[in-house]
């Protein structure tokens, strides 16, 4: 079957043809491509960052955009190497006739084989010249706005296939100014779609040194999240931010079952637990729900809410003017969670009272009845 992988073998005295040597190269190339394709996700492995320098043309500012050197692996398993930084070509963008003013256009890196520009060539027995090398080249090109949505619809080669070309790797986005025919802006992402980085496909990851770390950034970047599975202390799982590559745990689960968190743990309400909040609240507002209780819990009947308000003395400032002002509660109640609190001040029980809105003390108790929540 033509799809079966063939490995070249040699014997003493064999006359080697070009196809024998070519198959030796292709065997290794195909092997590597299948590894890249099926054990890794495609994307940027290193570098390939867009950066812009401010320029001016006809008194209009624009950006001269450069792609830094780097390496990517595409969905066919081809490794694409950009050996040195390269300027994005406005003429190429113009030739593609895709410009839409103000829209983000995706920038793609596409790997492809190329013949070398000149040497090394060799003269064959027929007197023609053939290249002795293929350049594993690339093209930096642009798409129409929205083309980035179709990246995952690209087709991989068959299981036994080697690396093809033509696969688009997203590097970022640019905006175009049609008046001066230059790039006006650049971005790493647009509409929630950003630069695609290479990853790993694995159902099992095994550490060798007893500590397995999962980081959102390199170990040298302090303050980034890290998850650690560590054999120390009988085995533990830790989460926190890293300092010099070491986790500063805010959440730890030990193999013994102990769980420690420095923050608040929220989850499904536990039957029989009472949640309390108290303080002072002003007329017209709602008394707050206790921490861990949401309005949805209340509306769903998951908790029974008890709200109590009591007047404060004084619950409003004394009116100006000398005399023995006496505060009297005109209204102090909670309608649902809404505070209704007014006071009147009277002087010597003879002067017409002054009404004011005021504050009251509140106590909110939320109880999770047995018919809801989970038992602990």
């Amino acid at each position: 079957m033509s799809d079966r992988i063939e490995r070249p073998v040699f014997f003493e005295g064999q006359v080697l043809g070009a196809s024998d040597l070519e198959s030796s190269v292709e065997y290794g190339r195909g092997h590597m491509a299948r590894h890249e394709r099926y054990l890794h996700t495609w994307g940027i492995a290193y570098g390939l960052e867009l950066s812009g320098e401010d320029r001016e043309r006809n008194s209009t500012k624009y950006k001269d955009i450069t792609v830094s050197a780097g390496v990517a692996s595409d969905g066919t398993g081809r490794q694409i190497v950009v050996p040195e930084s390269e300027r994005l070509d406005p003429e190429l963008f113009l030739d593609l006739n895709i410009a839409r003013e103000g829209a983000w256009h995706p920038v793609f890196l596409v790997g492809r084989d190329e013949d070398p520009a000149a040497e090394p060539l060799i003269e064959t027995t027929c007197g023609t010249t053939q290249p002795r090398r293929k350049v594993e080249g690339y093209e930096i090109t642009f798409g129409r706005p929205g083309d980035e949505l179709e990246l995952d619809e690209q087709t991989s080669p068959a299981a036994s296939g080697g690396p093809d070309g033509g696969w688009k790797v997203l590097l970022g986005f640019v905006k175009w100014n049609s008046t001066i025919e230059r790039f006006s802006d650049l971005a790493d992402s647009s509409g929630g779609i950003g630069r695609r980085y290479a990853g790993a496909l694995a159902d099992e990851v095994v550490a060798r040194g007893g500590v397995l770390s999962l980081r959102s950034a390199a170990a040298t970047e302090n303050g980034k999240p890290i998850v650690v599975v560590d054999e120390a202390d009988g085995g533990k799982l830790q989460f926190g931010l890293q300092t010099n590559g070491v986790v500063q745990p805010v959440f730890t689960v030990k193999a013994s079952g102990d769980v420690a968190a420095t923050g608040t743990i929220t989850g499904k309400l536990t039957t029989g637990v009472v949640y309390v909040e108290s303080g002072v609240a002003y007329d017209g507002m709602l008394v707050p729900l206790p921490a861990g209780i949401t309005e949805d819990d209340v509306e769903a009947g998951q908790v029974v809410l008890h709200v109590s308000v009591t007047p404060r003395y004084p619950g409003s400032p004394k009116p100006s003017g000398a005399g023995n002002w006496i505060p009297i509660v005109a209204e102090c109640l909670a309608v649902g969670r809404r505070v209704r609190c007014r006071y009147l001040w009277t002087k010597d029980l003879t002067v017409a009272p002054t009404y004011v809105n005021g504050a009251c003390d509140y106590l909110v108790v939320a109880y999770v009845p047995a018919s809801s929540g989970s038992t602990s």
């Binding site: 949640y275 309390v276 909040e277 108290s278 303080g279 002072v280 609240a281 002003y282 007329d283 017209g284 507002m285 709602l286 008394v287 707050p288 729900l289 206790p290 921490a291 309005e295 404060r312 004084p314 619950g315 409003s316 400032p317 005109a330 209204e331 969670r337 809404r338 209704r340 007014r342 009404y355 004011v356 809105n357 005021g358 504050a359």
Partner: protein, 168 residues
């Protein structure tokens, strides 16, 4: 640690409209809707009637060091450099042929007053929120808005002024 209080302030003018304390949690974790529901009721102190309802979108939750007087009369305060400061000036409002005119005390040199007005009422019981910015050194601002016939309750907020409720 200094005890904190939670303030409901108008996003446009930083006028304080209500205040509370919470023992069990930090007020900074809350959204305005958690403390006002569909709206903060502004009531007539004499009879308890709800005059206006300020929607949570117009409010921000801020926290500050506890100051007892703010809890008792929050609408006399405005945030200045993120701290509640007692205000003595009261803005005024009148209807004009083209809308409303809000009058206020001049702010310190170089500062422009931000004005926010909510009107509720009229024959068709409508609600309007109007905003404007005064000029440097100015003491009034005209806001053009065609008002339907009828009497309106007005909540008038101006930078570094007390909150004022008036009927126009």
């Amino acid at each position: 640690m200094t005890e904190q209080m939670t303030l409901l302030v108008n996003s446009h003018t930083q006028s304080v409209l209500a205040a509370a304390t919470l023992r069990g949690q930090s007020g900074s974790d809350l959204e305005a809707a958690d403390l006002v529901g569909e709206g903060l009721e502004i009531r007539n102190p004499a009879d308890g009637q709800v005059l206006l309802e300020v929607e949570p979108d117009e409010l921000e939750v801020k926290t500050a060091d506890l100051l007892g007087d703010v809890l008792l009369q929050p609408r006399a305060y405005a945030l200045v450099d993120d701290q509640p400061a007692l205000q003595i000036s009261t803005p005024g409002i009148i209807k004009t042929g083209t809308g409303v005119r809000v009058t206020y005390s001049a702010l310190p040199a170089g500062e422009k007053a931000k004005v926010w007005v909510q009107l509720e009422g009229g024959f068709q019981d409508e609600r309007f929120v109007l905003t404007a910015e005064g000029t440097s050194g100015g003491t009034s601002v005209d806001i053009n808005h065609t008002l339907p016939a009828g009497t309106f309750e007005a909540l008038v907020l101006v930078t570094k002024h007390k909150a004022t409720v008036a009927q126009i």
